[in-house]
């Protein structure tokens, strides 16, 4: 089946849209699952140690919300795994030898842990001992974070491919060091940054819902204590998220300089680059040509250099330098990288031809070039293969991601993160002073912080994923060469099908959550009127 060039590009765009849409929906639910699991586990631990029924009731209330959220997280998650195959067939082949392993280990080690013990957590209150139940709750939380570890290891490898070599015969990357893949600095940093920011989101959620109870004058004790647990939990992990976020900046400067330049809308590289706190970006043409990319710039001098390279005078490359090249700084132009990438791909074509003609001499020659152990192979890798993916690009501009989207998303993420740190501190102070209930304006702020946390969380993913476009594998495989050979109409159909389905389920989830919060924790004495979501006891 032949596809026109226009349809080919359309398939790429629709496939990207579908993956982004499913990832965004999935990521609406996962952070709360990751963090609320631990918050619930902490509360149940307090119940276990104090034997105070109050904490059991509190635990069960938050667990109920955890359950609603967990279900939809699972529903939106399965499709992501299979979309690697359905929509990104070439990608699956090109990286399956590396990417598949963490995915399989995630299934064996984490998913079963989570799915087995969540049943005990929900249904085991009267069936297993208190100790076993508590263990199940902790294991569910650990299982969720473990699954995040493996998928983030896989994601980090896409951003910073290490521990592998390219096999010409199979035309794919093959793993040579499991530990390099697992303990890649990017993987570790990404894992800790992602999960700790998720814990922070869950803490904002618990604090916000608790604030609603205080505003309504209901369940004050539960609300204050939940707020205390969540604020401490949130503050600790917000600080870790800030530290790992700072670490990410250092890594991105070295591994994905274009992403860093897009995050800062830095078009002209400079020594002692300032950090733009905020500005209004100019239109693209003006950004590229004028000294400053934005209007009304609020800047901190030399801070970008300091944060990226731990040196206030360090040089930070701009988008123009990265596209056009900067010989002084040893930066190749994208045009040159495209040429070199095509040389590498050309060798692959030469191998194919030699194989068809059974020309063993040429086959050996090509194999030697791709052999990372030989000096010829090392040189070829350094000079050509590392630009393999550039060979598929048609023009240098394709390497520039959507700058405004990445730039503003980054500021939303960082700004919200700083706000949450201050917010947890202030809330703890008010709780200590026993003034939380009298500061009603602050309770409203806390309640409305919940959607902000979600926006910040999505913004983080936009920075990470849009910022690395057009690469599915950094420098090695652009989206245009990774996509499945499907007609765009098929992807359009599935895109809208899942948009409608996920949106419907999201509405259902929000409505159920809202109702469950309004119902509140289970009544201390049996009160059927309060529990109208129970079974068909009338039949």
């Amino acid at each position: 089946m032949m596809l026109s060039t226009a349809d080919w590009m359309s398939v790429v765009d629709w496939s990207r849209a579908q993956f982004a849409m499913t990832a965004i929906y999935h990521w609406l639910f996962v952070p709360l699952t990751l963090g609320l699991g631990f918050i619930v586990a902490i509360m149940e631990t307090i119940y276990y140690t104090t034997k105070d029924e109050f904490w059991k009731r509190t635990t069960k209330f938050w667990m109920k919300l955890f359950g609603v959220n967990f279900a939809i997280g699972v529903a939106t998650g399965i499709i992501l795994e299979f979309e690697f195959g359905t929509n990104w067939s070439n990608y699956s082949h090109f990286v399956g030898d590396i990417f598949g392993a963490p995915l399989a280990i995630e299934g064996i080690m984490a998913f079963f842990l989570e799915s087995t013990f969540i049943a005990v957590m929900f249904f085991g209150w009267n069936k297993v001992s208190k100790g076993f139940h508590l263990t199940a709750t902790w294991l569910t939380a650990v299982g969720a974070s473990l699954s995040a570890l493996w998928i983030l290891v896989a994601n980090a490898w896409m951003q910073y491919p290490v521990g592998m070599t390219f096999n010409v015969e199979t035309a794919r990357n093959e793993m040579t060091s499991f530990w390099e893949v697992l303990f890649s600095p990017v993987a570790m940093n990404k894992f800790f940054h992602t999960v700790t920011s998720s814990y922070m989101l869950a803490a904002v959620f618990v604090v916000g819902i608790s604030a609603w109870f205080l505003l309504k004058g209901r369940e004050q004790l539960m609300a204050r204590r939940s707020m205390m647990v969540a604020s401490i939990f949130g503050l600790v992990f917000a600080l870790v998220a800030a530290a790992t976020g700072d670490g990410s900046g250092v890594q991105i400067a070295r591994t994905q300089p274009m992403k860093l330049a897009a995050m800062e809308a830095l078009y002209h590289g400079q020594k002692g680059a300032p950090l733009t706190v905020i500005s209004v970006l100019k239109p693209e043409k003006e950004r590229m040509t004028q000294e400053k990319a934005g209007w009304m710039n609020i800047e901190i001098p030399r801070m970008l250099s300091l944060m990226s390279y731990r040196d206030g005078d360090a040089y930070v490359a701009g988008i123009n330098d990265l596209v056009e090249g900067n010989p002084e700084r040893g930066l190749l132009s994208v045009e040159e990288k495209i040429e070199r990438g095509r040389v590498a791909i050309g060798e692959l074509a030469r191998y194919r031809q030699a194989k068809q003609g059974n020309d063993r001499e040429v086959m050996r020659e090509v194999l030697a070039k791709f052999d990372p152990k030989s000096s010829e192979g090392k040189t070829f890798h350094k000079e050509y293969f590392r630009y393999f993916g550039y060979g598929y690009l048609s023009s240098p501009e394709e390497v520039i991601p959507n700058v405004p989207l990445v730039y503003y998303s980054f500021r939303v993420m960082v700004g919200a993160g700083v706000f949450f740190i201050l917010s947890f501190l202030f809330t703890l102070w008010l709780l200590k002073k026993q003034q939380i209930e009298t500061r009603r304006w602050w309770l409203w702020v806390l309640l409305w912080s919940i959607p902000l946390a979600y926006v910040a969380s999505q913004a983080g993913w936009i920075v990470a994923e849009v910022g690395r476009q057009p690469w599915t594998i950094q420098d090695l495989l652009p989206t245009v060469a990774a996509v499945s050979r499907i007609d765009s109409a098929s992807v359009v159909v599935t895109f809208f099908l899942f948009v409608v389905l996920f949106t419907t389920l999201l509405i259902a989830e929000i409505m159920i959550m809202r109702r469950q919060v309004k119902i509140g924790p289970e009544p201390l004495l049996s009160d059927p009127e309060q529990s109208n979501d129970k079974t068909n006891r009338d039949e």
Binding site: M1, V74, I78, G85, A104, I108, W125, V128, S490, A508
Partner: protein, 384 residues
Amino acid sequence: METYLFLQHYWWFLISLLGGVLVFLLFVQGGQGMLYTVGKSGVERDMIVNALGRKWETTFTTLVTFGGAFFASFPLFYSTSFGGAFYVWMLILLVFVIQAVAYEFRRKADNFLGEKTYEWFLMINGVLGALLLGVAVGTLFTGANFTVNRLNLANVGGDTAISQWTTPWRGLDALADYRNWALGLAVLFLSRMLGAQYFLNTIDDKSIRTRSRWQLWFNGIPFVLCFLLFLVSIMFSKGWAVDPSTGVISIEPYKYWHNLLAMPAVFVALVVGVAAVLTGILCDLCREESTKGIWLSGPGTVVTVVCLFLLAGYNNTAYYPSLADMQSSLTIYNSSSSEFTLTAMSIVSLLIPFVVAYIWYAWRAMNRKKITREEILSEDEHLY
């Protein structure tokens, strides 16, 4: 056997085992499909949903792990089948997405779509989930319309897709082969039988047990017919054989029958597996008080499905025959991950017995008490 060959066989065995466990766990889907035939009142449907609701995530997780393990161990299958049979896999995903929310949302207040819609979600998943997975597995014997050329990656500016589907039906073409239907329907009826046996074993309620026993009849007979049709037709079919030294693939008449003869242990295990499934059903049918038939039928299902997978992939057989270009067919040799990756994952696979042990322990702890009307009518807010 050299290490790489051993690892390729080991991982095909693990895929087979996961496939076997998945088909057994499809009792959840089978049970869902009978929500209204076994559960005649609201309370009875609640009992059914709560019985299945404690297990559905394990089935779901097994499906996800099955996909992940296939991706990791035989990535070329993943990229070829999923990217090619697009419609079939998307349909399978869709019916599993709607299942995942149905349990938790069904009885919750303000659930937007209403209880009946979520019950329909469960029933659609119960029927289509099992049927389509069976049809998809059928193509491991009957083949599919695809080509594979790894070095298409060298086509700069041209068609770089390594795996390509040669018909516009994108996997729906599998429905044109009666043998895929036979296996799909066999899996569907089997899942319903296992579902009925699970109800017998888990729900302590006279009317549910009576109706479940009837379902064993209604589903047992078509299961036997469909399964026999599939098995006999496959034994008489040609298969795609691979020469492991050259990698050349050729057609071999009665390939799967030859595989049975060449692997007597698999032959015996297949007979034992089928016998166990049928004995388990007969136990529950013939003895009024019997509730433990699933302990025979369940393991029997696992063994039978493992044997079918081994027939498809062992003994130098192409486990995913290409109907468009024979040499593009996938074998465990030409589609596996590298030796290094298979070794690394094999070390991780040593954890599997530990995983099975804790699942067993947790399930035992949870299943000590049967589900009763009293429990469903209790105040526990975590009931589905």
